[in-house]
């Protein structure tokens, strides 16, 4: 790390931990990032998105996936900028439509691992319809929803996951709408794998993402994050580190949650981290692919529409 970078961040060289000389070459995770032109990221320093990106790479690496056989599809927003930095087949689409583009791509290439990367506004407001239908079909796509409860890129407007009473630039007197529980929505719509953790718990995210990507059908991983630049500032929640710590304090593992008394569970306000649903359901492209093969075979050779 150069003195320049340290000085920009107001860190004394002697205080900063200087990484080893071969920090880039030594990190296998970094080898999956694009090496030309795309850095630094557009994310604010202190943002949780880098943690999620690291987890996603480690998850794919742990599965030994070939980067050529992975497609990362994203919509619009801070989260949706993630694929551009990553050395895979990357499709940055329109707001809310990542899962619809991903559906077409998965149908064309059922052999590929298709991962849709979305924020809460992207996945659940403008893209809510695509979200429930992708889950209903149980199409083999992993949906990674980074939930920071706000529209960050546009400057802090309330989203479908902003808690009631919290402020946003478009909720100056506090949000009056109840939020969507992301995982409950996916489970009800039929997702065959649903898990949640936070950016304070990257090792859990690594594990859940690997499981989600391995799952044949539609998977959801909700990565609870924060936006200290907008949501945190408006609601006086402190710096990025404070918000990161609150994810630790305000979350509970599923196993601990399950041990709570009925009353405690009912009044629990903490984020429950863990694998929340696994279901054996037939995957869409498998079912349809089998049908297509059967009809194709029956057609023996493609009909000659010349009709002589």
């Amino acid at each position: 790390m150069s003195d320049h970078i340290l000085s920009v961040h107001d860190v004394d060289v002697n205080e900063g931990q200087v990484p080893r000389e071969d920090w880039f070459e030594a990190s296998s995770t970094l080898q999956h990032l694009r090496k030309n032109k795309k850095f630094p990221t557009i994310w604010c320093s202190g943002c949780g998105l880098g943690v999620v990106m690291g987890s996603l790479i480690r998850a794919m690496e742990s599965l030994g996936l070939d980067n050529d056989n992975v497609a990362l599809v994203a919509g619009i927003g801070c989260t949706a900028r993630m694929p551009v930095y990553m050395d895979y087949n990357t499709l940055h689409t329109t707001h809310g439509r990542a899962l619809a583009f991903a559906t077409g791509l998965k149908i064309a290439r059922p052999d590929m691992k298709v991962i849709a990367i979305m924020g809460d506004g992207d996945a659940l407001a403008i893209g809510g319809n695509h979200f429930i239908h992708a889950a209903r079909r149980n199409i083999g796509i992993t949906a990674l929803v980074v939930n920071n409860a706000i529209y960050g890129m546009t400057g802090g407007q309330y989203s479908p996951t902003t808690p009631e009473g919290m402020r946003a630039t478009t909720a100056p007197y506090g949000n009056v709408e109840p939020p969507f529980p992301v995982c409950d929505l996916a489970m009800a719509a039929g997702a065959s794998y649903v898990a949640r953790s936070t950016v304070y718990h990257p090792l859990e995210l690594d594990k859940y993402l690997a499981q989600a990507i391995s799952n044949e059908g539609f998977s959801l991983v909700e990565a609870v994050s924060y936006c200290h630049t907008t949501y945190g500032r408006i609601n006086k929640l402190g710096a990025a580190s404070d918000m990161m710590m609150s994810l630790k304090e305000n979350s509970i593992s599923k196993s601990a949650y399950d041990k709570l008394s009925d009353d405690d569970r009912e009044f629990n306000t903490k984020i429950v981290r863990g694998v929340l649903q696994t279901k054996k359901r037939p995957e869409y492209t498998k079912v349809y692919g089998t049908l297509v093969d059967k009809i194709h075979d029956e057609a023996i050779k493609p009909r000659n529409y010349g009709g002589h």
Binding site: R97, A100, F101, I107, R109, M112, I295, P302, Y305
Partner: protein, 365 residues
Amino acid sequence: MQGNEAIAMGALAAGCRFYAGYPITPSTEVAEVMSRELPKVGGKFIQMEDEIASMAAIIGGRVGGLKSMTATSGPGFSLMQENIGYAAMAEVPCVVVNVQRLGPSTGQPTASSQGDVMQARWGTHGDHQIIVLSPISVAQSFEMAVKAFNLSEKYRTPVILLTDEIIGHMREPIELPDFDTVEKYEHVVTDSPAEYKAFRNDRGDVPPMANFGTGYRYHITGLYHDEVGFPTQRLDEIDPWLERVTRKIENADDILLYQTDYEAGARTAILSYGATARTARHAMKQMRAKGEKVNLFTAQTLWPFPEKAVEELADSVDKIIVPEMNLGQLALEVERIVGRKKVVRVNLANGEMITPDMIVKAAEA
């Protein structure tokens, strides 16, 4: 066979192997035929949750390597505009069929119209180029579907096949060719993955497109992008791209399709397209039977508009009659080229068809 069925057949003949759509009158037969026929040739069909998703899915399908199509009508076409712009920006080939019905809004689902001519050109936001084709018969519906796919691939652009309820639901005999003999445009990528630039500006106007999952790991975005697809705000990267994607369609002669039936010495011309072109031909026959000389120009490519050909026509006549089932849309373009004084509009936008008499009267007036 119906016009809508012929479009589906043309798509299959051109190598379409993926269809995503949402039911809407009067286009639904296209989806029904595709859902039945695609599996027979190993292709895939999906009925999406709406037209926004349908348009997104066909772009995703094409990125994955399958030639793709959707079909819709007015309200659905409005919903598709966002991602039609994406396909133009990201240079992803795809074919969008719009079987026009009477609008605006829900309008009259079973009534014909030519009210989407301007929307087909300018429906999505921002400056962009697009190809819009319009058939006048069932046989042409087949031919134009093939053409739409080949132009879409060749120029890496969305192509709108703008037909209407009359042509779509009309039945005519048609002799289909052996699909294997139908010409199909295919992309050939010769560069290695390390050298490959999906959007390069310096080697022809249309860089070949690599499919995802074939070793070419690149970025596709709806943002302004550089030659390898990364977002950019640099003018020296934006300007050459903009020039190239404009030039690739503006300068291509093989996009401009039209038919002419000219008589030496004619001072009156009828310029039409789609279902109205059939009325126009009837009017021409009536006029010629009475000994009046008249030229007939049938536009098959509406956008880019065959400007030079219309200019030449205008040089030889005093009057160009432009009948259309709308309140005057393509007439605006004709007026722009030949001047308002020479153009006589004949319009009907209530779901009824224009009659030959209306055109003959306009010629006599």
